[in-house]
């Protein structure tokens, strides 16, 4: 069986200089994979490259066996890959409901998908007619994830979903991600709250200077003192 996502020796970046320097990464199915690494390592850039938002110069990316290297973002999404950027990931002047509609793809939602998403995020249902701009940070993040789930993805890319959230909300958000995995959806996420994320993840990768330097089961990474000292915080 082919991998859900296979990133192979990818080089690429924004202008002439490469940010990604031979990045490799595989996701085999509905697992949670956490990318950790220092600021500027290229974690966000890697996600954008997968989603067709950053040019891949060398290397290739396959999704479900199909080559999606440098494919337009809307076509990538059509194939079942969803992406939630770290910032500006909702539409402030649209309501919660309308934001979710934005995620509905090709086939119109008959209401089932939205119902399912409100089941995962009940607090959103309460605010469905409210503008996204008036939501709290945590609610906004939930909405962004909900919108991404509307395309019924096989794989979800999340860029620092817990950044800028109060500690109490970090765990809550991560639990939602575990719930998403239980629906049979793979999750690739960048996380600064590395310990909390790894505790719920299947695997973790450490990215440094545009490459994946280390890859292991999440509990092994948690156990390693060198990793802990470098990347996991106190």
């Amino acid at each position: 069986m082919s991998d859900l996502l296979a990133i192979e020796a990818v080089h690429g970046g924004y202008g002439t200089a490469d940010i990604l320097n031979g990045a490799d990464l595989r996701i085999s199915g509905p697992e949670i994979v956490v990318i950790i690494g220092p600021n500027g390592a290229g974690k966000s850039t890697l996600m954008k490259a997968v989603f067709g938002l950053v040019r891949v110069r060398v290397g290739n990316i396959r999704f479900n066996g199909e080559d999606i290297t440098n494919m337009r973002a809307d076509l990538v999404a059509e194939r079942g890959l969803a992406y939630v950027p770290q910032e500006r990931n909702v539409f402030p002047s649209l309501t919660v409901d309308e934001n979710l509609d934005m995620g509905a793809y090709l086939k119109r939602d008959d209401g089932k998908r939205k119902t399912a998403i409100y089941e995962i995020f009940p607090q959103l249902r309460l605010r469905r007619a409210q503008r996204a701009g008036s939501l709290s940070g945590g609610e906004r993040q939930m909405l962004a994830m909900g919108r991404a789930l509307m395309i019924e993805p096989k794989l979800l890319l999340l860029d620092e979903p817990t950044a800028a959230l109060a500690p109490r909300l970090v765990d809550e958000t991560l639990e939602k991600i575990v719930e998403i995995r239980s629906l049979g959806i793979g999750v690739l996420m960048v996380e600064q709250n590395a310990k909390a994320a790894l505790r719920r993840a299947d695997r973790g990768v450490v990215m440094v200077m545009g490459r994946v330097r280390l890859e292991d089961e999440a509990h092994n990474l948690l156990a390693r003192t060198d990793i802990a000292d470098l990347f996991l915080g106190a």
Binding site: F51, L53, R72, A73, D74, V76, A77, E78, A82, Y83, V84, P85, R88, N89, V90, F91, P92, S93, L94, E98, D101, M102, G103, Y105, R147, A148, I151
Partner: protein
């Protein structure tokens, strides 16, 4: 002025303002809804005017057509041709940032004007196209009430169509793109295509406006399609009225057209040595007015309701 004269003028005024309002609604789709700068309104206006004029006017030896077709055919052709032109322009400029699009549209409009001016076989060049039929003209002759009704009907239809588009999921997508383009891309939306659709839809109404203009006057020539008249004035109308708000676009058209017509009365009283500058002076006055509106009502007379 006598009462009859006043009424005639009022009808003339309302018809003209109504035509502008159709064009301003088109711009409101492109700019108000989709955030695209089009400084080439005159080009799409001209395409609509010439398309309908060539199709509906009686046959002449010196140029293509006329084909003596019903006006309704001309109106639809105007919509189709200007939409097609917009599609080509939008397709070529796809991916340009909005400020570059603006520059490109200036060039496109100028190109269209030069074609209209120089391709005699098609447009009769600077001599223009005459004997463009009036609505129901074969029975009633040029009748101001009928023309006004036709314009009012087109305006009402344009308004209803654009309001419906705005309230639809398509309209919300446009709004979403305008306020967070990257977010829309990340949500898997084909942003370039949505933009193109809005550009084409807007241009279609500009073309319709051009056709109405042609049937209103019965005569068109390249002079009417310079940038001052249709492009500049329509922008002023939309900004003053309230971009993003369709009623604002309509209100702005009537208010600015009233003021524009008023400045003519003013400049007609200028001493002889200034008369040659009258056109520039009118533009200056209108420009000043926009400044005032932007200072006191930055979002226009009827601001956008989000």
């Amino acid at each position: 002025m006598e009462l009859g004269g006043l009424l005639n003028y009022a009808i003339f005024f309302a018809t003209f303002a109504g035509i502008f309002a159709v064009v301003a609604l088109g711009l409101n789709v492109q700019w108000g809804l989709s955030g695209q700068l089009n400084f080439g309104i005159a080009g799409f206006f001209a395409i609509g005017a010439y398309a309908s004029a060539i199709l509906t006017s009686p046959q002449v030896a010196t140029r293509l057509g006329g084909f003596d077709m019903p006006i309704i055919v001309g109106l639809f052709a105007a919509i189709a041709f200007s939409a097609l032109a917009a599609w080509a322009v939008g397709w070529i400029t796809a991916g340009l940032r909005t400020d570059y699009l603006a520059i490109a549209t200036i060039g496109v409009a100028e190109t269209i004007r030069l074609v209209v001016k120089n391709e005699d076989w098609l447009t009769n060049g600077v001599r223009g196209i005459q004997a463009i039929p009036r609505p129901a003209g074969e029975w009633f002759g040029p009748n101001a009430w009928i023309m006004l009704s036709v314009v009012a009907l087109c305006l009402a239809l344009a308004y209803a169509a654009i309001e419906a588009a705005r309230a639809s999921p398509w309209g919300r997508l446009q709004l979403a793109i305008r306020e967070n383009e990257r977010g829309a891309t990340a949500a898997g939306k084909d942003v370039a295509r949505a933009r193109l659709e809005a550009f084409v839809l807007g241009a279609a109404f500009m073309g319709l406006g051009g056709a109405l203009y042609a049937h209103f006057f019965g005569f068109i020539s390249p002079e009417a399609f310079g940038p001052n008249f249709s492009t500049f004035l329509v922008w002023v109308m939309l900004i003053a009225g309230g971009s993003g708000n369709n009623r604002g676009a309509i209100l702005g058209s009537f208010v600015i057209w009233l003021i524009w017509s008023g400045t003519e009365i003013l400049t007609n009283r200028l001493p002889l040595e200034f008369v040659t500058q009258a056109g520039a002076l009118r533009l200056l006055l209108i420009g000043l007015l926009v400044q005032l509106v932007l200072i006191f009502r930055p979002k226009g007379l009827l601001p956008e309701k989000l």
